[in-house]
Symmetry: C2
Subunit: 405 residues, 2 copies
């Protein structure tokens, strides 16, 4: 249905991006300012953090995207521009400077910031860096932009796919950052997705919101929902397809492509959780409803004790049962099966709520792979869900014990 | 109002206790079986874990305490007797063996187990150890019993107080275990409290349930609610006071003494959280309701990022704001003040939701004390609450990365 292609957030036609070091961060080797631009007006949709403390960029972007259009997004890392007296003013200046440099209206520019909370963000290095940033814009600039939005991330996160709508080849791709303060509703991340599909903002928004439930809302690294999360999608119509209409096969195809890209970025964010050595996936089946399946899957990947056991490659399935017991209100433990799986095989460790004898060596082998899957069958229905997290390691503590100073 | 006295769970007259090594654990230096006995029939009240997966001892104790009386409690560490096919049978046998040895009815014996989940609990060492355990019973046996119920705990937890009801001196004391899998509702712990007060089971239960809200339910170490939590209070009336009646000053005095003991044990459990180097207390004032104050205080002490920052003695108050933002539904960040306090002083770091300049050296000094207090003023009302947790350290990961094997 989709073909993976190169290009990330600049794979869609009519989009350019760039990422530079402007000086917000002291480390000159780390890019800290990114720009993504559509060469033509684009439809826009976004979802934001549900934290009641929200960064100034959230307020400004929310206002600018309210009309369903945007052409550019300016993003800095190294400072969240949150809980600052002049935060909104600085975020507005970032939009105005970007608009001036590109010949746009500030109202068509979105802004995002990520980094430490509560320290004033100096507009000077950003203003000084804008000319160079605009000059660096290119239709292969995705990687530089992806690098520039990283904070404690250890790996660049980008993906793109191609697919066909009404005989026209279309592209959809994105970049993401997210490593700590990752938790559902709205998980702690920045995600920018572009597509050259011609689709109205309301359908774009509906597809985005719906897909968030099964993708970004199913990721947790540390249970902390950040103040600055944002997922922004720009659709500029350059592919030339007949505009997508609600309830059509094209609409379904587009939503599926969007879900594919969002799912990939969700997994990449979980895999790169602060200090993580393993991607932890929980697949729940046999639930009485999707909501219960999701609660169960999230409960397991959020448990500090499960996460620490996975770090230690310890097949401590009792902690999985325990997490299910406080996450699923009507759980009947006597119908629950649990197995651990990975590229090294699969092992049933709990049947009908009770332990089954298993080979500890095989378990160890399964649990030391890069991706570990915990399969849970609740035995109570036909619904299922999947959630992603990571192990809890010494490095998580190290990274977060002294992040600010 | 109360005087601290020695004796822990055997401070109240008419109670004896003991703790021995019977062989559930391999380490012969670690006591693993405890017994607490009232020499006369006692009124009993208990609260249990709200996890849907519950250990077999919970089911058996629930049945035995349902009539409001109990004379003894038998407790093992090293195995939770949870998710085992024969768990209820083994828990019943523990009660029967204890009852036989003491000349009681099995229905008057409570049972609790703590340790790894999902491994069959062998009755043999317990049955073999019971005669020695009963022989060791003494009215100074609190410390041995407290030691025997410890798992990853690093310190014994006991307290007792004396107070006066109607001219009679009464005593109330308890022991607790709890270090990991600690989270409100019902926090992950075993607590046994005894008193020689004459009080009917219904009032005892009401005082216990009410005080849990402000004490054990305000403790979190890791967000995991265990399968085996139990707080049991036995009141044997040996003090000879006129039976406590509802709505009297005596009833208030008793409830206050109980709250004092429960609060002390709550703080001790938080202080001894797995891997903890610091007790973290969050005091919230200015809330629109007690429920909001409690949600705010719990949100702060549960945040992995706040906990890691405290470990690193990093005055990262932005994470406190962030935690408040996702814990308090109607939070207005613009009325929030935050300060850090300890024996080394107090420092305001956030005023009206925005950072204030502060001396980093003074902050470091405050944050390296044994107990760190985060004071939050919500500026939205007159209600307040207090919650207790601990820092998140390398040792938490180490302890839980390989607990089972």
């Amino acid at each position: 249905m989709f073909k993976n292609i190169d290009g990330g957030v600049t794979a869609a036609h009519g989009f350019r991006a760039a990422g530079i070091h402007c000086g917000i961060r002291k480390n000159k080797a780390k890019r800290d300012l990114a720009l993504i631009v559509s060469d033509v007006p684009a439809q826009a949709a976004a979802v934001y953090t549900k934290n009641r403390v929200q960064g100034a960029p959230i307020a400004v972007t929310r206002a600018h995207v309210a009309d369903g259009t945007a052409c550019a997004v300016i993003v800095n890392s190294g400072n969240a521009n949150t809980c600052n007296a002049n935060g909104v003013l600085v975020a507005q200046k970032m939009c105005e400077g970007t608009a001036d440099a590109l010949g746009l209206s500030a109202n068509d520019v979105a802004v995002a910031s990520t980094g430490v909370i509560g320290q004033p963000l100096d507009i000077a290095p950003i203003a000084a860096g804008l000319p160079a940033l605009v000059a660096a814009l290119t239709d292969t600039g995705s990687a530089d932009a992806a690098d520039a939005i990283m904070t404690t991330d250890t790996r660049r996160k980008e993906i793109a796919v191609a697919f066909t709508l009404g005989g026209k080849t279309c592209r959809l791709g994105g970049i993401a950052k997210g490593s700590g303060m990752i938790h559902p509703n709205m998980a702690t991340m920045l995600v920018f997705i572009t597509t050259d599909v011609d689709i109205p903002a309301d359908l774009l928004h509906a597809a985005l919101v719906q897909n968030c439930e099964s993708t970004f809302h199913m990721v947790s690294v540390d249970g902390d929902t950040s103040t600055n999360d944002m997922v922004l999608v720009l659709a500029n119509g350059v592919a030339g397809n007949a505009p997508v209409q609600a309830g059509t096969a094209d609409c379904d195809t587009f939503a599926a492509a969007l879900e594919y890209v969002m799912r990939h970025l969700s997994r990449e964010i979980a895999r790169d959780g602060e200090g993580a050595t393993r991607l932890l996936t929980c697949k729940v089946t046999g639930a009485a409803s999707t909501a219960i399946a999701r609660a169960a899957a999230k409960g397991v990947i959020c448990s500090s004790l499960v996460k620490a056991a996975i770090f230690g490659a310890d097949a401590n399935w009792g902690r999985v049962l325990c997490a299910l017991g406080y996450s699923v209100p009507a759980l009947d433990p006597h119908t629950v099966d649990v197995s651990f799986a990975s590229a090294a095989g699969e092992l049933c460790v709990c049947k009908a709520g009770q332990g089954v004898a298993f080979n500890e060596e095989i378990a160890k082998k399964i649990l030391t792979e890069d991706e570990v899957i915990i399969r849970v069958s609740l035995g109570a229905g036909i619904h299922e869900a999947e959630a992603w997290g990571c192990d809890l390691t010494y490095d998580y503590v190290k990274i977060n014990g002294d992040y600010r100073t």
